[in-house]
Amino acid sequence: MNLVSLVMPFGVFVALLAAVGLYCLIVTRDMLRVILALEVITKAVTLLLIVGGLVSGHMALAQAFVITLIVIEVVVIVAAAGIVIAVYKHTGTLDIRRLRNLKG
């Protein structure tokens, strides 16, 4: 009972978190911040999965998804961080606007 009453505030929090992540993604030009923004959005999605499991009553299923998501998230972050390091070594800057030499 208690938990169900928490669904609404949790939902609002998830929406805010996603909005913060998106905002960060739109305005930033730093590649590290892009990674951080992705991280924030992914956290919002993780929370949303938990809320969804709570609403539908399939908490075990939600748990499995959350664990899978965390694993994928780690892989994405590692790969993205690797790319960022390589780009930095190559260009000497983290500014994403400098990565335009492949534009058609």
Partner: protein, 612 residues
């Protein structure tokens, strides 16, 4: 025995032709093989002549049986073809000796003999068609081995004769359908119904076109210039006339009962009369020995068609007699032209002259055959023309008048030809010209001899060859042999010949030379323009067909280009325009894509809310 001989008549020349093909690189061996083939063929033909036999071998169903029939008419055609084949082979020995492709020439000559024998003996329409088309192949081949570039004329002949043969094929299908059988001797169709009449008309196109009548004639003058000359004496002058008129006679006598007074008969006579006049008018203005003869080969077919078209006994006998006479004198004329070509190197009349003294025997042969074609008594052409006049007069004065006018122009053009080639001054280049070798003179003299024999003693061909074809019941008790003609017709012919001579002298006096003897007719007001148009090929069905084909080609090319433009131009253009528009959205900037995505999600949410 006779049945086997019929197979031999077809197979022996074919087999020996293959031998000739195998030895084609060995000049004299090949020529000897060809001569052997022609002799063997003549022996077989003589043995066949006068006998009656039939072979019937069921082959496939649908009326296609292997049926041969030997009777007076087919035996006569086979004999005549064999005689000409031998004469022309003998003539070719010196004529073709130093030429390229002489081996191929002998090969195709013998093959033509085999096909001609087959076509004459065949009693099944489809079998006949097989041999008939075989002759078309050798026709193409024989023209194509002429001088360089002759394949154009060969192609013209192939297309024109091929088109007429397609008509004949259609006629055969119709005739077989309406008669219920493909066997010629069992067909008895009447010309009162539409279907059989249609079949008759299509068959007539095939038969007359083979013989060289208008409008499928225009390859002959071109072939005369390009093909080796013995070919002209063999095919257009002899084989094609024999077979074309043979088939025409079988159509009108056996398959269909053509009656005097029917419109089909009138149509045939009109075709004949037009062929006579148009071709002889063209012949009159020619300035080349061979081309002039070629136009006469067309014109004389008109007499045969006119004679057979009358459907009265005198006309048919005259037409058939004219067929064999024409084969004789036209071969003789072409062979004389060949002698002149071989000895002087040219057939251009403006470069010839005075050959009568240098080549007296050739001139003698030319003289006999030219008198024969002009219808001078007592040569053979006179007899057959009188019989045709007799038949034509029975059916209408206008046809008689046309035939008589044709005679006048024929005589005029041969006076011109003889005058310019054999009289007048000898040109510088021809000072040392000698008589042709004996192997060329013997066939010419033989043919000239037959021209005289068939005229003076016309009982021989008429009793032995021509009248048995019609049979007693069709002759109605008449006997056309001998010298008892309608005195009015003879007087008419003689007056016309005298007029031609007078016309010639007027022409020579006006132009001052033999070659210009017809100039006053050529450049007469009215005729002049018609001649110019004809020389440009405006009346040539092949040229007209080519023009038409080019027009159709141009239109279809346009359609093809349009479709190509739709697929390669229009579609590509529209795609390019669209992608040019869309390209401005793709900046590569993540924030802008995100804004698009947010806007899209917002739109979906709004829509979902609205729907609910």
């Amino acid at each position: 025995m006779t049945n086997n001989l019929m197979y031999f008549a077809i197979l022996l020349p074919a087999v020996i032709s293959l031998l000739a093909f195998a030895t084609r690189k060995m000049g004299k061996v090949c020529a000897a093989t060809a001569l052997l083939g022609a002799v063997v063929n003549l022996v077989v033909a003589i043995k066949l002549f006068g006998q009656t036999a039939a072979v019937h071998v069921p082959w496939t169903s649908w009326g296609l049986d292997f049926t041969l029939r030997l009777y007076s008419f087919s035996g006569f055609i086979v004999l005549a073809a064999a005689g000409f084949a031998l004469a022309i082979t003998l003539y070719s020995l010196p004529f073709m000796a130093k030429r390229e492709h002489s081996g191929l020439f002998y090969f195709q000559l013998l093959l033509s003999v085999a096909f001609a024998n087959g076509a004459a003996l065949a009693d099944n329409l489809i079998l006949l068609l097989f041999f008939w088309e075989g002759l078309l192949i050798t026709l193409y081949g024989l023209i194509a081995i002429g001088r360089p570039g002759a394949w154009k004329s060969a192609m013209k002949a192939l297309v024109l004769v091929g088109v007429s043969d397609v008509c004949m094929m259609f006629g055969i299908a119709l005739a077989g359908h309406f008669a219920g059988t493909m066997q010629i001797s069992k067909m008895h169709l009447v010309l009162t119904e539409t279907g059989p009449t249609l079949a008759f008309l299509f068959l007539i196109i095939g038969a007359t076109a083979k013989a060289g009548a208008l409008p499928f004639h225009s390859w002959i003058p071109d072939a005369a210039e390009d093909a080796p000359l013995p070919f002209m004496a063999l095919m257009p002058a002899a084989f094609e006339k024999l077979l074309g008129i043979y088939f025409l006679a079988r159509i009108t006598l056996d398959m269909f009962a053509l009656t005097p007074g029917s419109w089909c008969s009138t149509l045939l006579m009109t075709l004949g009369a037009i062929t006579i006049l148009v071709a002889v008018m063209m012949a009159l203005i020619q300035k080349d020995y061979k081309r002039l003869l070629a136009y006469h080969a067309i014109s004389q077919v008109g007499y045969m068609i006119l004679g057979i078209g009358t459907a009265v006994p005198a006309g048919i006998v005259g037409g058939l007699f004219h067929m064999i006479n024409h084969a004789l004198y036209k071969s003789g004329l072409f062979l004389s032209g060949g002698s002149v070509e071989r000895q002087t190197g040219t057939t251009d009349l403006s470069k010839l002259g005075g050959l009568a003294r240098q080549m007296p025997i050739t001139f003698f042969c030319f003289f006999v055959t030219a008198c024969s074609i002009s219808g001078v008594p007592p040569f053979n052409g006179f007899i057959s023309k009188e019989l045709i006049y007799d038949g034509a007069l029975e059916r209408g004065g206008i046809f008689y008048a046309a035939a008589l006018l044709g005679s006048f122009l024929t005589a005029a053009s041969f006076l011109k030809l003889g005058h310019s080639a054999y009289f007048g001054k000898v040109s510088e280049a021809n000072k040392n010209v000698k008589e042709a070798p004996w192997a060329m003179l013997v066939p010419m003299l033989t043919i000239a001899g037959f021209c005289i024999l068939f005229g003076v003693y016309n009982q021989l061909p008429l009793h032995k060859l021509i009248q048995p074809v019609l049979g007693e019941h069709r002759l109605e008790g008449h006997d056309y042999a001998g010298w008892h003609f309608n005195i009015m017709l003879v007087v008419g012919t003689l007056v016309v010949l005298a007029l031609a001579l007078l016309n010639h002298f007027i022409g020579v006096k006006r132009s001052g030379s033999g070659i210009g003897a017809a100039d006053h007719i050529h450049y007469a007001p009215g005729l002049h323009q018609a001649y110019d148009a004809a020389e440009k090929g405006w009346f040539d069905p092949y040229e007209l067909g080519l023009t038409l084909a080019r027009g159709v080609g141009r239109v279809t090319w346009g359609v093809d280009r349009f479709i190509n433009w739709v697929s390669d131009g229009l579609a590509v253009g529209v795609t390019a325009m669209f992608s040019y528009l869309v390209r401005s959205f793709h900046t590569g900037s993540l924030p802008i894509y995100l804004w698009w995505a947010i806007a899209g999600v917002a739109l979906v949410i709004i829509l979902l809310v609205k729907v609910n």
